[in-house]
Amino acid sequence: MGAPLRGRPLSAPRAQAARLGWRPRPPRLLPWAPALTLGVLIGPVLAGLAGAAAPAFGWFPPLGGDTVTLAPFRALLAWPGFAASLRATLVSAALSTALSLALALLIVAAWGGTRGFRLIERALSPLLSTPHAAAAFGLAFLIAPSGWAARALSPWATGWTTAPDVLLIGDPWALSLAAGLVTKEVPFLLLMILAALPQADAARGALLARALGYGRVWGWLKVVLPRVYPQIRLPVYAVLAYSASTVDMAVILGPTAPPPLAVQITLWTRDPDLSMRFVAAAGAMLLLAVTLGLLGAWRLGELAAARLGRAWVEGGGRGRRADGALRAAAGAAAALTSGAVFAGLAGLAVWSVAGLWTFPDFWPRSFRLDAWARAAPGLGAAAGETALIGVVAVLVALALTLGCLEAEHRHQLGRPRRSLWLLYLPLVVPNVAFLTGLQTLALAAGLDGGRWAVAAAHVVFVTPYVFLSLADPWRAWDARAGLAAAALGAGPDRVLWAVRLPMLLRPVLTAAAVGFAVSVGQYLPTLLIGAGRVATLTTEAVTLASGGDRRLIGVYALTQAAAACVGFALALAIPAVAFRDRRGLRG
């Protein structure tokens, strides 16, 4: 210590009183934001789970279930398709998640920061906007033995005038389902990795590794990945849980006899024999256990990979020779996964205006607009309803998310609170496991049948994605700007509204767009909470798809994708216009 600087001990209470620290005026509502958000998200899930758990153990008085019994689980295990169904669920979920993660990492490692990568980034919005069902339908039309790829080669190259009898879609191991999931999950994980990169100091890390003689891919994997992975862990878990419980992709691409567990549960809930509702509830509980088991296994895999990876990182292998092949593979993966979705969308677009279109014609024999003409009046109303519900749900989700993040910031919580992990509960618990119970709850409370009730239900699903998209950029914000503003006399509210939100406008709008796309895609919550009366683009698409008319499927799938895409387009356009003269905020 320097000469004149001798600390004088202070009495404890005085020290307490004089203790400094940035303590703004205690706000009235903000400290409650995390608790409120957790309540809004977890309450419905837990209540819904309870509603499903009771019938799983035989308790559902309206159907005469008034004793607690394990009979539903015995019936579930006695179902002949049980083993094959479980296998399809496990294989498709684990395989698609592992493959999606590997491809997304490889693409960023091999191409991050290059001009080609800008192209990939631009493709993300439309890829994310495409509803799962539309992507699945498009992919099925692409790769089926009678699909577009086969038609391109038939009959001139293959000699086929009728489709060959080859099992590609709906294979018993659910590989085609896994492939379909990969096309949708790679863009999602890419988005999450891109959001995490700035905080991992990725650019400098990668550069440093290359300066030390490492190949581009090897260097990224050894230096950046260990820092990025903890940040994308939750999105990866969300992908794993989603893949295990997806219904809309599985009914199109998955095996049929037996189908994956989630689909079979849906079939049971639709069984005219109402006693099958008990088995469905038991199945939902099992699916929850399966999902948790998969997550646990994945966590163990992470630990093992970390241990093996450390030795690999420290081994000094530069991997320069692997670069060429890996970059080519990553490029091919990016092209294939995005190309499959885009070609599928193109197929849907052609279908929506197709006249007679039979195998092996590459183009329809005639074109007609009657599918659009017939859908037009209903489309307008459904699009309006979709937009209204989506905007309301996103605004609420943003308010909750910003409330949580701002409370965390103002109260200097430092590390994100552990309890906030619970925000992701709605992403981890399979929909089929809690939605029926949630419906009963909403009914008992008299909160159903209207668009506001539906919007409230959407909040449960939208908020985790908004939080997921916004938390990293929000926390990575340069807090000195806030300190500078405070030193200039701006209170915390002014810092939030006049400095932080404008500076973070782009990530806020991106998160809103992700949330809007999630809202657009909701089927079961809209149906169950809206009593079927709230007709959105997605509910219309699903009901019309049950008639199997591909032209109408095309019309509605395109409109759904377009609605979600408008959100992403606005998220790009608004900051570009608002900050057209602000070079410091250009992305």
């Binding site: 600390g7 004088r8 202070l10 203790r19 006399g489």
Partner: protein, 215 residues
């Protein structure tokens, strides 16, 4: 009542029972710039953060901060009226140069025209006439630094803390900017605390020098 900035038994520790990082008794009279020197990692920046009430929660701060005789320790940063200049200019990228300055102007100054005039006058004082509509990202390093100073002063602080504000500037620019800063501070009679590891900076400040060192 003592005019100026006074630190009374200010003590910063790593946690409630941790190692003492800084312990300081110090008075900075109006118009005087005290330099705080010391190697990196010694806690200079944390000291400034503690004075404005923004020390990271990992640190325990005790003692009093008095400004013109008033204990401001219980006040939030925005109410302390202690200005802050960083190593980087930290101009808000979403606002124009004029917008950055207007952000700092007290709300009590009413009227668009009056506020605009005040901003224009500040720009003129910094030799940046007509820069109000410019995007801060298009300014040179020296110009940005001067905008940052004017922004800090427009908020009418009663003391100013400077966190190595000259270290990012090249040698030629540095001398003239340093002169600009200290002349402006002296003219306004502001107490200032300058954190630096450069003896030239401390000399230019023409005030007492306090050296922090490993305990």
């Amino acid at each position: 009542m003592t005019a100026g900035l006074r630190l009374e038994g200010l003590r910063i520790r790593e946690g409630a029972r941790g190692r003492t990082l800084v312990a300081l008794d110090l008075t900075v009279p109006p118009g005087v710039a005290v330099s705080v020197m010391g190697p990196s990692g010694v806690g200079k920046s944390t000291l400034l953060a503690a004075i404005v009430g923004a020390a990271p929660p990992a640190f325990a701060v005790s003692g009093r901060v008095l400004l013109d005789g008033r204990d401001v320790g219980a006040l939030p940063t925005e109410a302390r009226r202690i200005g802050l200049l960083f190593q980087d200019d930290v101009l808000f990228p979403h606002l124009s140069v004029g917008g950055n300055l207007a952000f700092a102007l007290p709300a009590a100054l009413r009227g668009r025209a009056a506020r605009r005039e005040r901003v224009a006058a500040a720009l003129a004082e910094a030799g940046l006439e007509g820069f109000a509509e410019r995007d801060p990202a298009t300014l040179s390093g020296g110009q940005r630094a001067r905008v940052a100073v004017m922004r800090a002063l427009l908020a009418e602080p009663r003391a100013l803390l400077l966190d190595e504000p000259f270290s990012r500037l090249d040698a030629a620019l540095r001398a003239s900017f340093r002169r600009f800063v200290f002349e402006t501070l002296a003219a306004r009679g502001l107490p200032a605390l300058l954190v630096t590891h450069d003896a030239e900076d401390a000399a230019a400040a023409c005030g007492p020098v306090v050296t922090l060192g490993p305990a």
